[in-house]
């Protein structure tokens, strides 16, 4: 964990309990952790360990049963639905396991989507998106629809979409799960480069060893609790 850098994400005694029929499922049991600017961190753990829930809470997609989640000092628990929507738009980038691009938009349109929603002017948008697409190795694929792209290419577009708006943190859910090993290594290398060159904070949820090998910090969850928190130098 970087000691000298600004804290981006902070979880304080966060618990999440789901109701499953008559049963209460404790997905998270009072975890406390923080992520600093520029980190390249993986949350790992077996299925049901709570990593999905943790990412949902950090991504302002869900609310904790107890405890506090802060993003850049903003307490998500006190924010309205509209405010959370704007926070996601402006400060969080998402990369999903299943790419989740909008099928009716071209690669370029998908990559510029968040900027368009933000209302960034078209000329500025174009400049930024073309630059990011080039960094993501998507030159020449701008006009293709997702159905015309390979899995790896789609995930590149998803990464371009996530970083285009210069978010405080990119949350990546099993980004390598659906792609072959070579492509996975290339994508991880690309994200590592973006992290190192542009200081973009990445937070992965994964059980892919390749991701954990590249992460500079690995938070291991077991049964909704932090089992270990390893920072590599």
């Amino acid at each position: 964990m970087s000691k000298n850098q600004k804290t981006i994400v902070e979880l304080e005694a966060v618990a999440k309990v789901y109701a499953q029929g008559d049963q209460a499922v404790h997905a998270l049991r009072g975890i406390t952790m923080s992520i600093s600017e520029g980190e390249f961190t993986a949350i790992s753990g077996p299925s049901g360990s709570g990593k999905t829930t943790a990412l949902n809470l950090i991504g302002a997609l869900d609310t904790p049963t107890s405890g506090t989640v802060r993003l850049e000092d903003a307490d998500l628990g006190t924010m309205s639905r509209q405010a959370l929507s704007l926070l996601r738009r402006d400060r969080i980038g998402f990369v999903f396991q299943a790419y989740n691009l909008l099928p009716v938009l071209s690669a370029y349109e998908n990559a510029e989507l968040v900027l368009a929603v933000q209302g960034v002017a078209q000329s500025e948008r174009r400049e930024r998106v073309m630059d990011i697409m080039a960094q993501c190795g998507l030159e020449g694929l701008e006009d293709r629809r997702p159905s015309e792209l390979s899995g790896g290419q789609q995930q590149r577009v998803a990464i371009a979409r996530a970083i285009a708006s210069n978010p405080a943190v990119v949350l990546a859910d099993e980004p390598t799960a659906n792609i072959d090993s070579t492509t996975a290594n290339t994508l991880l290398g690309m994200m590592e480069t973006l992290n190192q060159k542009q200081n973009i904070t990445f937070l992965f949820s994964t059980h892919d060893q390749r991701v954990m090998d590249r992460a500079r910090r690995v938070i291991h969850l077991v049964d909704g609790q932090i089992d270990s928190d390893d920072v590599r130098t």
């Binding site: 949350i43 990593k51 999905t52 829930t53 943790a54 990412l55 949902n56 991504g59 997609l61 869900d62 639905r81 509209q82 929507s85 704007l86 996601r88 738009r89 402006d90 998402f94 999903f96 396991q97 299943a98 989740n100 909008l102 099928p103 009716v104 938009l105 989507l113 968040v114 900027l115 368009a116 929603v117 933000q118 209302g119 960034v120 002017a121 078209q122 948008r125 979409r161 949350l171 859910d173 099993e174 949820s205």
Partner: protein, 419 residues
């Protein structure tokens, strides 16, 4: 937020399931086409019938004695015809104003005595635009003046009286005091409309000749009839006339009040057609709703993603409503393309009713004594066309409301897997 092109996204979304969209559009096109053609048949057909009824009867709006409708006797007349004509003529929707004396007469020849309806008319004011049977004078001619001594008989009536052009006819009426009066006339014309009711029961007489016979002055008459170009204005014209004519002594009635049988028939038919169109509308709307709803439920995950990356629920709502709007626009355009050809044919060539009703002659087609026009042409009032199109668009937009609301209620965490 203005930079997201929701219209373009909605348009593309519409064509993601091309076959489903085409089926839905077909429902809109077919429903609108059916409604327009059905309404066209109604509008033109009923307008024609009302025009014919007005030209056979007492116009679209009639001024007469308030008690004449209940007990039609010559004592129930109106006076100041010149003033009433002037008031009626001053209305901008009025095209013609005529004065008439209708009644019953006993017609006698040397061989026969037959009762018939008569209409005393003014040749100076009447034309085929106000008195349709003038088109059907097959022998002789219309009166030369209001003081003419002729009589024009329906062809069957003439035949039953064993009369022909030039034959002497004695007609007997009751005058304004209830006394029986008679006059001699010579047959100056024969009418052959083909309609049995008309040909066997109607005769025409010159109005001033009748006035003198029944004791009317030159300013007395039974009816002052107004003809208007658009029958839908009858009520408005009647309302204006009521305000303009003397408060007592004159009743202003529309064709519907004078011919309630015909009015009821038309109302019944209109109600029936609106009921059918309502059912068609509901079925079409249900089909569209189903398509929109299924389309939304299939895309909940996508909506979750959109909300996750910063779309607002309001934007999702607008996206779905744009999809509905496109559906309505394309459906309406399709309906226009599909409708133009058949509408042109039916409004220019028409439907031959005798071909549909085997064994019937055109003149035999009648409702409440009013002949049906044959061939039946179609034509739709602009207001009805606008109403149908508005209803079609509204049905499509309303069908999208709930799916749009459902879309914007999507919880991203429930529809996408983040970790």
């Amino acid at each position: 937020m203005a930079n997201v092109n929701l219209k373009r996204m909605a348009w593309r979304n519409l064509w993601r399931h091309r076959r489903r969209t085409i089926l839905t559009l077909s429902a809109i096109v077919f429903g609108t086409f059916l409604s327009i053609i059905m309404q066209s048949m109604q509008d033109m057909n009923w307008a024609d019938m009302i025009r014919v009824a007005a030209r056979l009867g007492a116009g679209h709006v009639t001024m007469q004695h308030p008690e004449y409708l209940d007990a039609p006797t010559m004592s129930r007349s109106v006076t100041n015809v010149t003033q009433l004509r002037a008031v009626a003529s001053s209305h901008p929707d009025t095209s013609h104003v005529v004065e008439r004396i209708p009644g019953f007469a006993l017609l006698s020849t040397a061989r026969e005595n037959i009762g018939a309806g008569f209409l005393a008319v003014s040749p100076e004011h009447e034309s085929e635009d106000t008195l349709q049977i003038l088109e059907a004078i097959t022998e002789g001619a219309f009166f030369e003046s209001s003081t003419d001594s002729g009589i024009i008989l329906g062809a069957t009536l003439a035949n039953n009286l064993d009369a022909e052009l030039g034959s002497k006819i004695v007609y007997t009426l009751t005058d304004r005091d209830g006394e029986v009066v008679s006059a001699l006339a010579r047959v100056s014309g024969i009418i052959q409309t083909g309609a049995k009711t008309v040909d066997s029961t109607i005769c025409l007489l010159p109005i001033d000749t009748v006035r003198e016979l029944i004791g009317f002055g030159p300013e007395d008459t039974i009816q002052v009839a107004s003809f208007i170009d658009d029958q839908r204005q009858s009520d408005a014209v009647a309302a204006n006339l009521k305000a303009d004519v003397p408060a007592t002594g004159v009743a202003v009635l529309t064709w519907a009040e004078l011919q309630p049988d015909l009015a009821s028939f038309i109302l019944m038919k209109l109600a029936g057609s609106w009921f059918i169109m309502g059912i068609v509308g509901v079925l079409v709307a249900a089909g569209i709703f189903n398509t929109m709803f299924v389309g939304v439920m299939e895309r909940l995950r996508e909506f979750g993603i959109m909300l996750a990356v910063g779309f607002t629920p309001k934007q999702l709502f607008r996206l779905i409503m744009w999809e509905s709007s496109w559906m309505a626009t394309v459906g309406l355009a399709g309906a226009a393309i599909v409708t133009v050809g058949p509408y042109w044919y039916l409004s220019n060539v028409g439907i031959d009713l005798t071909a549909l009703m085997a064994g019937m002659e055109a003149a035999e087609l009648e409702v409440a004594g009013i002949g049906l026009p044959n061939p039946m042409m179609v034509g739709i009032y602009r207001s009805n066309l606008v109403m149908i199109c508005t209803l079609a668009v509204s049905a499509v937009l309303l069908s999208g409301l709930y799916p749009a609301w459902r879309a914007c209620r999507t919880e991203p965490v429930e529809t996408i897997r983040v970790g």
